[in-house]
Symmetry: C2
Amino acid sequence: METKQKLMQTALQLFADNGYSETSVQEIAKQTGISKGGFYSYFPSKIDLMLEMVDDYHQSIQNITREIDGTKAELASYLHGELEIWIEHRLFFHVIFKELPPKKDETFTKKMEQLHDTLHYHHQEYFYLTYGQQIAPYVTDLVIMLEGIMKEYMMYMMLHDKQMDARQLSSWISRQMDGIVQNLANQKPFLQGDEERTIEQLLEDTKEIVLQYQLSNQQMLLRTIDEINRHIHADRDPFQLELLIHYLKREKVIEIQTIQIEKMWKQGGL
Amino acid sequence: METKQKLMQTALQLFADNGYSETSVQEIAKQTGISKGGFYSYFPSKIDLMLEMVDDYHQSIQNITREIDGTKAELASYLHGELEIWIEHRLFFHVIFKELPPKKDETFTKKMEQLHDTLHYHHQEYFYLTYGQQIAPYVTDLVIMLEGIMKEYMMYMMLHDKQMDARQLSSWISRQMDGIVQNLANQKPFLQGDEERTIEQLLEDTKEIVLQYQLSNQQMLLRTIDEINRHIHADRDPFQLELLIHYLKREKVIEIQTIQIEKMWKQGGL
DNA sequence: GTCTATATATTGATAGAC
DNA sequence: GTCTATCAATATATAGAC
């Protein structure tokens, strides 16, 4: 098991340095200290190694939500968790953003899209949580700008071989986003956003995420979301809604959405 | 000559789709309608085709300055020119930012660094011209954020196959930068910037650019810059300074710097 | 599990006919 | 100028010995 880990680490370094396609299996094996043939005892092919790398990273990203403090609705605290992962996996980041590996492999492309979507969803919800539902028309623009800024700082770090403090950087970036948001008044968004963010949309988004990750209790979750939708419009029975939302709360992949559902319910109920 | 252009265009499309290393000479030749052997009548190697592509783009970038209106010191007007080029050459952009081609070829790496530096210089000077010398401590951060935002919007455009209006986008981005700059007061920059931007530094930067591009009148330009430096500190003879600056103004690669030199001289002279 | 040896395909590039 | 034929190198992946 140790050799496999070592292979992945060596491969990551080589991919980051020279790119995926220009790194040969032979080179990976040689630098790990085994023969070319031996490589295939651990991975069925080169792309499968890459796929495992993506999976590892994707899992790290999903685990960020665990560390989120739901009460303090500040962009900085969300970004902090994410940036720590980025910095820790900065070599992987470099591979992903400096060379787009084989478009030909469909599995890979799909995995990358999922990773991208996961991040995108997270960021979108950060904004809603921090600035409220009124930034809905601008949310697409804000997410794009945030992602661009984060990537560029990461790139700067890589190229200049500087180490960055996740806390300082997240605090800096979120303050700049504050500046942008404050200045947004009366501006027309550049990209079309939703005119307003209704609870129906939020529930729909949550369902999509549940579908994306094939969770064991998928059916139960979908039913729960539907029930919430029904109760919100019908009786608004607080006891039942509390129960339903509590069930959703267990699921970390939709944690951010659940917090918002609760928020909107209680605000709407006043 | 026409076949050569066609080869480059086909190659660009293939590079953008599948990446540089995963596009074979055979594929380029086949899609252009000639044989693999025929390819080598036009380019000595695959990397040489790529190098020519970079040169073409670099030239377009340098030509932007021509269209700048020096009197209207707005970030938007500068960005507009640049974004038009980006959008026009969006396939090239995709190649550059989605796959970093061979690190092994030194000529290529050098050309890419030059291109990056050129853009970086431009952006830095845009900020100085728009917001004045007092943003000096923040200029590195501002440039990074601007570049990140621009890249991300370009990426969004590519991935969603949407066309964007350069004027609208440049206007939007510059307004967001306004928001950031206005919010900057009392913040400590994240990356170290120059504490203040003196005219000596500006002249030094200008010299570096002159040295980077091997211009035919390099010696004359360097002498001129030195003379400006001398006169600024000594007699401040307006007639002679006017002459010297006028000579610099002809040179488009340092146009932005020249405008600023003139500005600082006249402000300092009051 | 890891090695050596090998199979097979594809790459970038060259030589020489037309 | 463009083709065909071919080179040498390298790639991923497999087979079978130990």
